[in-house]
Symmetry: C2
Subunit: 166 residues, 2 copies
């Protein structure tokens, strides 16, 4: 697990923090230091971190912060519509504070993930009633493939049968 993370612009993080505080007031939810820290860490990070990654980062300055608290707060923030879960094939829950419409690049080998925007996806209209009364709300588009480092490693490798995750 990498602790390297890409920062989001401080201006945007500030906007999102204000929105977070408004949401707390509106929903009559207490604005605790723990919630603010978790939300801020998540908002500042473009890397779709796991709960554990957030926890590790916060522990540097707050060694007593327990992991279950971060889990509980993550759930709260999801309920408040301030962050969302990222869809994946397996592995631990990943979080995303970017609520704008966007797509994801996902490496099928290492799970590396990055935001991507392609206006073509956003212009495609949602079918209104697709099938059996299903009410479509939004697209969730992942572009899967190989990140540069896994593509490099792959060259010349032989696939094994068991023992190697695809």
């Amino acid at each position: 697990m990498s602790l390297v993370f890409n920062l989001r612009s401080p201006r945007l993080v500030g906007q999102w923090l204000a929105r977070f505080e408004d949401a707390c007031r509106l929903r009559k939810i207490r604005l605790t230091a723990q919630r603010r820290s978790v939300f801020e860490a998540l908002a500042a990070d473009t890397g779709h971190p796991t709960v554990e990654e957030i926890h590790l980062r916060l522990k540097k300055n707050w060694p007593s912060l327990p992991l279950p608290t971060v889990y509980r707060i993550a759930e709260d923030l999801i309920s408040l519509n301030l962050i969302r879960r990222v869809a994946s094939d397996n592995g631990p829950l990943r979080l995303d504070a970017n609520m704008e419409p966007h797509q994801h690049l996902v490496c099928r080998v290492c799970g590396w993930m990055e935001d991507w925007r392609d206006p073509r996806w956003e212009k495609t209209p949602l079918p209104s009633l697709l099938s059996r009364g299903f009410v479509a709300e939004e697209y969730d588009v992942r572009i899967s493939g190989l990140c540069r480092s896994c593509a490099d490693k792959k060259a010349g490798r032989v696939k094994s049968y068991r023992g190697e995750k695809q």
Copy 2:
């Protein structure tokens, strides 16, 4: 968990079983009754079942079949490229024996899932080198929303803060 499942056409299941047997021969993997049963149950089901659902179904006629065996075989079939994991936000692993290009309708409340085809997604070309050397291989499109039954239940309900999964 529901044991109701939608059947795939026997003709298609037969084709896929033949492909499964070829793949076993090609990769020199033993064709056991367990593997055949798990693959067949999966191929016959259009409902994106979990490993446990497959196991429950097979147990009816094979009470001694252990769950870990189904997990191991699922992993094998994924490695053989005969089935794939379905992307989801959370919850247990779901499997899909349909390897044709297709999209999914996903209910964000109950997890109900159904295949969907929209030629627009399939015609959109993959960008070749999107970002930082990323090699795109395929799209994974989920259309999330509410299935009919959750849409019906939702009318008139008040959302709670904690205690209700979104």
